[in-house]
Amino acid sequence: MDWQSWLIGIVGRALAFGTPLLWGTLGEIYAERAGVVNLGVEGMMILGAFSAFAVAQSTGHPGLGIMVAAVVGGVAALIHAFLTVTLRANQYVSGLALTMFGLGLAGLLGRGWEGIPLRQPLPDVTIPGLAKIPLLGPMLFEGQSILTYAGLILAVVLWIILYRTRWGISIRSVGESPATADALGVNVFLIRYLCVMFGGVLAGVAGGFLSVDYRPSWTEGMTAGMGWIVIALTIFAAWDPLQAIGGALLFGALYHLSYRLQAWLPPELLKLMPYAFAILVLAIAGLGGAGRRRGAPGALGVPYARGEK
């Protein structure tokens, strides 16, 4: 097989598998940029996956399913926001609780929906003009999900918002130094609430993509640890939406390659790479003396209480 079709195949599959990773990571980046770690990504994703499937199956509209998944993800994240922002509870524990709760609840509600093929999955899209471009066309613009394109565009938009607008400055300042932001008149609580919920919305969409597009059916536990890859990817991407694209592509490619290269490499080796990469990247940043400065928001994981030092 020539190298071109190899490349086209791998990039195409990396995009498909990387799509839910990208959506989830973009959301987590915003939550963490505002200073709130949410380890509940897995829980929010699975709730999104189930609700998207249930709605798409009963109404016949996969798009509606995705929208409901977004709302469900947002509501799930609201629990986390309430606990960590208002009640100033430990963010890590709250996130773990959200994951346990989400996996359990989705499994409980999802009984009876398992093993049914979705009657109307989200259609794949080929972009007419761009698909004709040699190499790049079939790689990027042929037969991908609409959510794949939307995720790529969203990443660019979110990058612009984060680095080129007043909103972005507010978000970053809240995550960097909430006391300073507060003093400057930024509503720390509101921004944290919004960013955490936005993270939930995107995680919900990521889950919905799995159940109405990637493999149009519902199964208990179908996110299969993707939420934790998202956490790793957020670090790997240095909390930067554009780098998240590259990271999602890389991790997606690794997953696909674990099947392509099976005859030569143990698949487990490629599957543990994302987790190892996350640690490695943090360690290298630490070696370089950058410590947690490599994009990590300064007040990450720290609850903010007004009037307290």
Partner: protein, 371 residues
């Protein structure tokens, strides 16, 4: 300070013991109440559900033994996490450390050739060391390179999961297992003895109880324990007192990871007698132990009680599945709820309600309610 009608909410610096226990019990009760609603919504009478669970777990010797069996790994991991949390080290990696112990014990049981009386003790020692090694990597990274401990411990769980997968699919796949993904069964000398008519591998249980007492002693009475507490409660003071963070963190994670490793030895030596798929070796004990430790509020002795409570919840999950015909995911929902309520009511512990006549002068600093 907040004013609600004639009442004043006052903040206190250290919660009283009664407040801690009261608030914790309140959280568990709240979770039970929400669960009751879920039972009801599922068409199962909550009263019937709880009665059935109580009868089939606490009400029979068999049920009690099942609780004990689940308590063992939760206790070992839980005590380790209590130590870690006391020093503000966020060890989310008990699951991976448990698996590391299971892997090491398997290696010793199948491939070391150590003679019978020494085989089990060696499995425990090597299992402890393996868990400790898996634990000190994040400790080293945290202190030396300032890498976030939550992330490293979490990621290392998954790395260990794939290592176990690789071992059972590849080099350690048992020739007698007809190609299935298991190692061979351990020789009988590597099986932990159990209490009659049960799966309670009592040596591991004894080790767990001893570990809890020892950990309490270390924390309360030794120099290391003092340093752990200072590092956890006031890092600045610790720095000022010249405490060596690396040394403390390494010790904390040797103990924390090592104890989780022992739990892994118990699971493969006492229950499975072989290494198998990581999700079967540990059904999430390492994660549940986080709740065990959180609920124990820094006390290893209290972890005995909280581990037993979650042992009960695991056993109840089995009953729910068989007797109530409800899916096992109920357990996950319940664990999530308990955790939500536990951390949700945490702030309550730090407030005291007092009747105060109007007109009394403000004593506290300006709070958000007054601005």
């Amino acid at each position: 300070m907040k004013r609600v009608g004639p009442f004043v909410l006052e903040r206190r610096l250290a919660p009283s013991r009664a407040a801690v226990i009261g608030v914790s019990v309140l959280a568990v009760l709240a979770a039970l109440l929400v669960m009751a609603i879920i039972f009801w919504g599922y068409g199962v009478s909550p009263w019937h559900a709880y009665a059935t669970i109580a009868k089939s777990t606490l009400g029979s010797r068999y049920g009690l033994m099942e609780i004990l069996r689940r308590t063992i790994p939760l206790l070992l991991c839980g005590v380790g996490l209590v130590i870690a949390f006391r020093s503000q080290f966020w060890n989310i990696g008990a699951e991976g450390q448990l698996l590391a112990g299971a892997v090491a014990a398997t290696g010793v049981a199948l491939y070391s050739g150590i003679p019978a009386p020494w085989l089990l003790p060696t499995m425990f020692v090597v299992g402890f060391l393996a868990g400790a090694v898996w634990g000190i990597i994040p400790a080293f990274l945290k202190v030396k390179l300032r890498v976030n401990d939550v992330i490293t411990t979490l990621m290392m769980n998954y790395i260990m999961i794939y290592i176990v997968e690789w071992l059972i699919h590849g080099p350690w796949k048992g020739p007698t297992m007809r190609g299935f993904a298991y190692t061979d069964t351990f020789p009988k000398a590597a099986w932990l003895p159990t209490l009659p008519l049960s799966r309670v591998h009592w040596p591991t249980l004894v080790i767990g109880l001893v570990a809890a007492v020892l950990a309490a002693f270390i924390l309360a009475r030794t120099r290391l324990g003092y340093e752990i507490r200072v590092v956890g409660e006031s890092p600045d003071a610790a720095r000022y007192a010249g405490i060596n963070f690396l040394r403390v963190s390494l010790w904390v994670m040797i103990l924390s990871g090592g104890l989780a490793g022992l739990a892994g030895v118990g699971e493969v030596g006492g229950i499975h007698h072989k290494l198998l798929s990581p999700v079967q070796v540990s059904v999430g004990y390492g994660y549940t132990a986080i709740i065990v430790a959180w609920l124990a509020r820094g006390s290893p002795i209290a972890a005995i009680m909280t581990a037993a409570l979650f042992g009960l919840i695991f056993a109840a999950g089995d009953v729910i599945k068989v007797a109530l015909r409800m899916p096992f995911q109920v357990t996950g929902v319940f664990n999530g709820l308990i955790l939500f309520f536990l951390i949700g009511v945490e702030l309550l512990m730090y407030w005291r309600v007092r009747l105060a006549p109007k007109g009394e002068r403000w004593t506290g600093k300006a709070g958000s309610s007054e601005s």
